[in-house]
């Protein structure tokens, strides 16, 4: 076993452990922290796949922004009342569906093993050049999407004291 595989196995344990924590725990705040653990470990997987910029973005956006937004929203809405929501009684069916999805995907993966070389990743310079030449229109559209989402979120969240949406 080489060092990369050992590191990868460690990260797999963290990613899947955090993911199981998210779907199993009853406490919503704990679930948000498990989600942070899982997503930060995904950043480690990105580093192993030679995508350093994406690892940085992952930590910033998921670890820094999304988890904090979730925790803030829980804080603003009295999280203990959220915790009273029990799981769906069909959780067994959901488990069967999830396991069968994993079975199908892994059988496809094992029946189509590709012969591959080592992971190679271009540097940040190439990524930036690609993003701002071939992908510049989708990039700008993405920024517009973010702006619209921000404005929409603000309008949705404060509609009650404005024109009274109810």
């Amino acid at each position: 076993m080489d060092a990369g595989l050992v590191t990868f196995s460690f990260l797999v344990v963290l990613v899947l452990g955090g993911a199981f924590g998210v779907v199993i725990t009853r406490n919503v705040a704990h679930a948000a922290l498990y989600l942070l653990m899982s997503l930060a470990s995904v950043a480690g997987v990105f580093i192993l796949l030679v995508a350093e910029f994406l690892a940085l973005v992952q930590v910033l956006i998921y670890g820094g922004a999304i988890t904090i937004v979730l925790l803030f929203a829980l804080m603003l809405t009295r999280a203990e009342e959220f915790s009273n929501v029990r799981d769906n009684p069909q959780w067994a069916v959901a488990g069967v569906a999830a396991i069968s999805i994993f079975g199908v995907l892994s059988s496809v993966i094992f029946s189509n093993k590709l012969d591959v070389q080592q992971p190679i990743g271009p540097g940040l310079e190439e990524l930036g050049a690609e993003l701002f030449t071939n992908w510049v229109v989708p990039f700008e559209i993405a920024s517009v999407v973010l702006l619209v989402a921000l404005i929409g979120a603000i309008i949705l969240a404060r509609a009650s004291d404005g024109q009274g949406g109810e």
Binding site: L5, F8, V12, V15, L16, A19, V23, V28, A31, A32, S38, L39, V42, V45, L49, A51, F53, L54, I61, Y62, I66, L70, A73, E81, F82, V85, D87, N88, Q90, W91, V93, A94, G95, A97, A98, I99, I101, F102, L105, S106, I109, L114, V116, Q117, P119, I120, G121, L127, E130, L131, A142, L146, A149, G152, A153, L156, A157, A159, S160, E166
Partner: protein, 101 residues
């Protein structure tokens, strides 16, 4: 580390996320499970970009867009959940059924 190791990790993360979306009733928990699914897709895209398409960057660029859309989605979804909580005093998606036929 082989490509299929990363693919298996991605499949497992996806399956866990699907379980969370189907089994949870709390809207915030469903949102977190959707984040898990999106991350499974991201891992897959980055892995294929690194192993199979080393000269080009389509996988990484797609991942950047997925992360952008995920951020927008979380902002909007949290606003909707806060609104639902304010109107109905619940975050249980089974109780928000006024559009159910």
């Amino acid at each position: 580390m082989e490509l299929y190791h990363v693919e298996l990790l991605s499949a497992a993360l996806f399956a866990i996320g699907v379980y969370g979306v189907l089994a949870r009733r709390n809207a915030v928990m469903i949102l977190m499970s959707i984040e898990l699914i999106l991350n499974a897709v991201n891992i897959n895209a980055v892995a294929y970009a690194a192993f199979l398409d080393p000269g080009r960057l389509v996988g990484q660029v797609i991942t950047i867009f997925v992360i952008t859309v995920a951020a927008a989605e979380v902002g909007l979804a949290m606003a909707i959940i806060l609104r639902l909580y304010r109107i109905r005093a619940t975050a249980n998606v089974d109780e928000a059924d006024s559009m159910k036929w």
